[in-house]
Symmetry: C2
Subunit: 156 residues, 2 copies
Amino acid sequence: MDSDRRSLYFRLFNEIGIIAQLSRAMMDARLPDGLITPHFSVLNHLIRVADGRTPLELARAFQVPKTTMTHTLAGLEARGFVAIKPNPEDGRSKCVWLTEAGRRFRDSAIAALDPDMTTLSRLVDGEKVERLIGPLTEIRQILDAQRDPKKPSRDA
Amino acid sequence: MDSDRRSLYFRLFNEIGIIAQLSRAMMDARLPDGLITPHFSVLNHLIRVADGRTPLELARAFQVPKTTMTHTLAGLEARGFVAIKPNPEDGRSKCVWLTEAGRRFRDSAIAALDPDMTTLSRLVDGEKVERLIGPLTEIRQILDAQRDPKKPSRDA
DNA sequence: ACTAAATAGTGCGATATCGTATTAATATCA
DNA sequence: TGATATTAATACGATATCGCACTATTTAGT
């Protein structure tokens, strides 16, 4: 592979890595206590996508190792933001349910993030963001498909 | 801020976060020993951008806290991939220089990553990537500028 | 020159992230 | 049905990441 082509992809991943770091730092700064972006993201996912997901489904959705999701969920459960119950369809598995406190926390977190998001929406054209999401989703899916299918969660 | 607009930015950051995680996992899997993507990225930066940077400059370049960069550099120094010397222009500061071993390691890491990158270049159109980098760089710069200028490294 | 404020790097403790190995339950199949 | 492989979750240990606080040095202001 020639050097120019290679550095193109490195630059892409570098920019994306930095944006991920900056956006996460921005959100972390608005979240209380020991709660950080992954906690909020999981709550948000449970509301936006579907309640009652299994830990493994959540790990896949965020592309983190199972053990990382176990840890994140333990933090949410300790604060009473989710309830983790046995999966009635599979004795090995669990289901993660939002609690009322979890919903309230998610709403208050969004409120806390709102000023930053509003500022951002003034600085970054929404249509430009929409045009980005398509290709980014495509790249995400390709990267996802590249992983060893035997390892759906990277450490299984 | 209305909910649609808000979820647009959340989706952007979510996709970017997942791609960052996947690309990092992909690279980590090809790096030896205890070396991970940040180690490689720093070496790559020293070659591509400029040798002899200070730790703080590197922390800013990657938008990580100073302490994180200290830790990353310690790992590189322990393996003899960089030499950290006093900054002749500032007694508080240091300068990070690549060693020959560092260059060799960077080259071998690139060689190890090459198959993945080649696969990627077949699956993701290079021109599409080029069209992404501009807007992403812009967003990165805006996010960067949004941070409190008093805290150039998030924990200063 | 002297003092006060700012800056560069790091020690330290807390938490996050990850890989490996383990346990329990389920699925496969002879 | 019984043996084997697969799967979901977690315990555990190692390292990464981060914020806070501290030291040494430099810079600014008088």
